[in-house]
């Protein structure tokens, strides 16, 4: 039984081996049906989404019954029903429920590691988190209620984009994320062409600044990064980073941010997630620095002719890493705000951002080029963060 959910889902053959998230809609049995194949699938439920990301599987099941309070079941010893969520709880890293506004029913989702899967994208050897078997899975964040009286229970984590409507700033953040991805995708050929040259003015080779980040994400780390909306942020460096280069010379700035924010924080998944997104930040700055000479000045939109120094790139990494780390901390706090060490870490990120804010205009002028400037300006909260979106710009930029 313990392996039934991943095995059953694997049989559907709906995964993609790509590291990029892919969504599929397959009409089939619900969690109960998937979990216990011996049952007749009389409930008109369906698996509506199966999404694989590295060693992580995200499954959603639709139930047409109106979304209401979930009451803990207390099945008898021989009962064949009412154990679905207990099994989900046992197998999955995180799960939750939400109403389906479009169809009027309810969606239950779960996020679990794929047994036996390896972090192929990262290719960094065995990861103990990936040898998951029943009984030694990473500890679930929430536990099933055991109260004798029915109690409301809604799981432990609902992806933010699927619950309360996003704020305008959150939507702009999503647009900015997409803008950076678009620019990378557009310029991957040029990035690869640059791999044997020096980054103009820095004395650092391009291959070095786009070295693949060294940190190996665990399944729990990836789940937190995914919930923070930063999967692409870490996937693309893992996919396009150079494996033949040593550690990026910009990585130390990212590590400084990790060290600054997390004293006293003991949650390994959170520490890992902050380290991974910070390291990815160094990669993004390095990648855009490598193609900087092909870009335009952020205000004049004329081709850049000057160079950028290594210190400036370190400054940029510090800002961007601070912003992405803050997003991870915010996600963690929205899930569980009780840990004072995490709250203090978030306060460090906020106040460090306030301290940095007056230095940003000078940094942007030194960076000069539009892609690097946008990367920095959209990464942390400051007065100029989403100025272009506030002015009515959708997502497009001159490319």
């Amino acid at each position: 039984m313990a392996m039934l959910l991943p095995a059953a889902v694997r049989r559907r053959q709906v995964f993609q081996r790509s590291g990029r998230a892919k969504e599929h809609r397959v009409v089939h049995g619900g969690f109960g049906g998937v979990l216990d194949a011996s049952h007749d699938l009389v409930a008109p439920e369906e698996i509506r989404t199966v999404r694989r990301q590295h060693a992580l599987l995200h499954v959603e099941v639709f139930d047409p019954q109106p979304h209401g309070e979930l009451v803990a079941a207390r099945p008898g010893p021989d009962a064949e029903d009412d154990r679905g969520l207990e099994i989900v709880e046992a197998l999955c890293l995180r799960w939750g429920r939400r109403p389906d506004a479009d169809r009027g029913g309810s969606v239950t989702w779960a996020c679990l590691p794929v047994p036996g899967a390896e972090l192929a994208q990262h290719d960094r050897g065995a990861d103990p988190e990936q040898s998951c078997e029943a009984g030694n899975l990473p500890r679930p964040v929430a536990t099933m209620p055991v109260h004798p009286a029915p109690v409301p229970f809604e799981g432990d984590l609902v992806p933010p984009s699927l619950t309360s409507p996003p704020t305008l700033y959150e939507s702009w953040e999503v647009l900015a994320d997409g803008l950076h991805v678009q620019r990378l995708a557009l310029h991957l050929p040029q990035l690869h062409e640059q791999l044997t040259v020096q980054t103009a003015g820095t004395g650092i080779t391009v291959a070095a600044v786009v070295a693949r980040p060294a940190e190996a994400p665990t399944a729990q780390t990836l789940a937190l990064i995914d919930a923070a909306g930063l999967s692409a942020w870490v996937d693309l460096p893992a996919e396009h980073g150079r494996s033949d280069a040593a550690v990026s010379p910009l990585a130390s700035a990212a590590e400084d941010v990790h060290a600054l924010l997390l004293p006293g924080v003991t949650d390994d998944a959170l520490r890992g997630a902050v380290r991974v997104v910070a390291a990815a930040s160094a990669w993004w700055v390095g990648a855009f620095a490598a193609i900087r000479h092909l870009g335009v000045h952020h205000s004049s939109l004329t081709p850049v002719k000057d160079t950028v120094g290594s210190d400036t790139l370190h400054e940029a990494v510090r800002v961007v890493a601070l912003g992405t780390a803050q997003r991870v901390l915010a996600q963690q706090l929205r899930h569980d705000a009780s840990e004072e060490a995490v709250r203090l870490a978030y306060c460090r990120a906020v106040t460090e951002g306030i301290v940095i804010e007056p230095t940003l205009p000078a940094l942007l002028e030194k960076l000069g080029e539009l892609r690097l400037v946008d990367l920095v300006t959209t990464s942390i909260p400051w007065r100029g963060r989403f100025a272009k979106y506030a002015g009515g710009t959708g997502a497009g930029e001159v490319e």
Binding site: P160, A330, L333, R334, A337, C347, G353, P381
Partner: protein
């Protein structure tokens, strides 16, 4: 920590204690984590144009001749701020004021030798909006002045930004906050040790607000 409406929060303290940093920090906490964007206001917002000249003269050229006009102008401006900005905003968003009543009480005590208890009724009489929490950043005047001097861009006033004046201002803060019950329009008052680092100050303020249920429910 569910609250029925958004809070009105006041940040007070000497120049250099970190009021701006705390205000921005709370702003970003509300916006970035709790998904509600606060409105930040100042202690004087010039919303009653008829008293604008009195506000300027009374602040920068305080004298026995203009002190009552200044006091009346401050009261009028605060009423206008409360009526036009704070009260209408609270159903939708928190409001954070950078200084409010406490600073005015200190100004009249130091510059016009009027006790806070004399000044208070003039300011509070027609003020319907009471802060849910007044956070007072406390630090020695020496340390505050040292910090303020390290900042660039701040205008300094020789009749105000000097040690003996700032020491007296701090004494007024302490006197008033020690008997906050006599000044109900300040709302609950919490003093925070501003000698701590910025993150710890923000964290302490966060805890103080949280303990009073002044944050909305966190949602994922």
């Amino acid at each position: 920590m569910q609250n029925a409406r958004n809070p009105f929060i006041v940040v007070e303290g000497l120049d250099g204690t970190g009021k701006t940093t705390l205000r921005k920090g709370l702003f970003r906490l509300f916006e970035g984590l709790y998904r509600v964007t606060p409105l930040a206001v100042l202690t004087t917002n010039f919303l009653d144009a008829s008293v604008a000249a009195d506000l300027v003269e009374g602040k920068y050229q305080p004298s026995a001749d203009n002190r009552y006009r200044y006091l009346a102008a401050i009261a009028a401006d605060k009423q206008a701020t409360a009526t036009r900005l704070i009260a209408p905003s609270l159903p939708a968003r928190p409001v954070i004021a950078d200084r409010w009543l406490l600073s005015e009480l200190a100004f009249f005590a130091v510059k016009h030798d009027r006790s806070p208890k004399e000044t208070y009724p003039h300011l509070a009489e027609h003020l319907d909006v009471i802060p849910d929490l007044t956070l007072v950043l406390d630090i020695s005047p020496e340390a505050a002045m040292e910090r303020a001097a390290a900042r660039s861009g701040d205008a300094t006033r020789p009749d105000w930004d000097v040690l003996d004046i700032q020491a007296r201002v701090r004494e007024v803060y302490q006197t008033v906050t020690d008997e906050a019950a006599a000044y109900p329009a300040l709302g609950p008052v919490v003093r925070i040790d501003a000698a701590n680092d910025r993150a710890t100050v923000l964290h302490t303020a966060w805890q103080a607000l949280d303990q009073r249920g002044l944050f909305p429910e966190l949602s994922e």
